[in-house]
Assembly symmetry: C2
Homo-oligomer: 152 residues x 2
């Protein structure tokens, strides 16, 4: 089987999945621990999506580990289509959540200072940056897998 | 040449391009005519991106018209890579702009009413909806062209 770098079952895919899990966990923690995120819809959306990306990436990281050490053939069209569609949907939602949060943070900065105390605003910004990094890795996984499916 | 539906030079690609040009023009007009959009970064970003999507879609629509009526072979890897990358970048930017605007509109609704008079808010919402439709069509074009390139 001719392996596309970054497609399911390769070491590059494993590193992408670990990166996704790491950045989405960081984003979730920065946003949810000790910060009042629940008063803004965009931040609630970000937390929800990051909470979906973490189990998805961890599951696929385990599949990668299994394939690397035990060996498996993933030429099952049904399975690969689920992976590609799942990655694509999650990458679109991650980008949407990160951009909505970035727009809200920018507006909060420009409004009266009472809406955004420096301590909270810094956390929101960090969380959004992590979400952008997580999106970038999810989108890369999705494109590599799509390329792999299309080149069969 | 085996044509992928939706790839450059087909009638389905032409209809996608016309839809993109239509929705991005509508988004630009709803946002920029008679509304104070320039006080919000997200809305300025939306106007800029819609202003980039319009010439891109019109140019590719003309290429499609030429290919449909005169006939052309687009198996030039360099040209197709430019089209795929351009579509992908513009679809990411359209989604980013639409989501940032949606986040800002939602926040403006929840703040004191003086930030968002009903007349303005309705226009912002219409413009953002059109931007989402434009994003959807740009992303479809991008995926069809990527599939076409990958299946060579």
């Amino acid at each position: 089987m001719d392996e596309t770098p970054g497609s399911v079952g390769t070491t590059s895919s494993l590193s992408l999945r670990l990166g996704q899990a790491l950045f989405s966990s960081a984003s979730l923690l920065f946003m949810s621990v000790g910060v009042e995120f629940y008063s803004y819809t965009a931040f609630c959306f970000l937390v929800t999506i990051m909470g979906l990306v973490i189990p998805w990436s961890c599951t696929l990281a385990m599949v990668d580990v299994y394939c690397i050490f035990v060996g498996c053939s993933l030429r099952l069209p049904g399975l690969m289509v689920i992976v590609v569609v799942g990655d694509m949907v999650l990458s679109i939602l991650s980008l949407a959540a990160a951009c909505a949060s970035a727009g809200v943070i920018d507006l909060l900065f420009h409004l009266d200072g009472s809406y955004c105390p420096p301590k909270f605003c810094g956390r929101y910004q960090l969380s959004t940056s992590m979400a952008f990094l997580s999106w970038f890795l999810t989108a890369s996984s999705s494109l590599f897998n799509l390329w792999h499916v299309a080149s069969w």
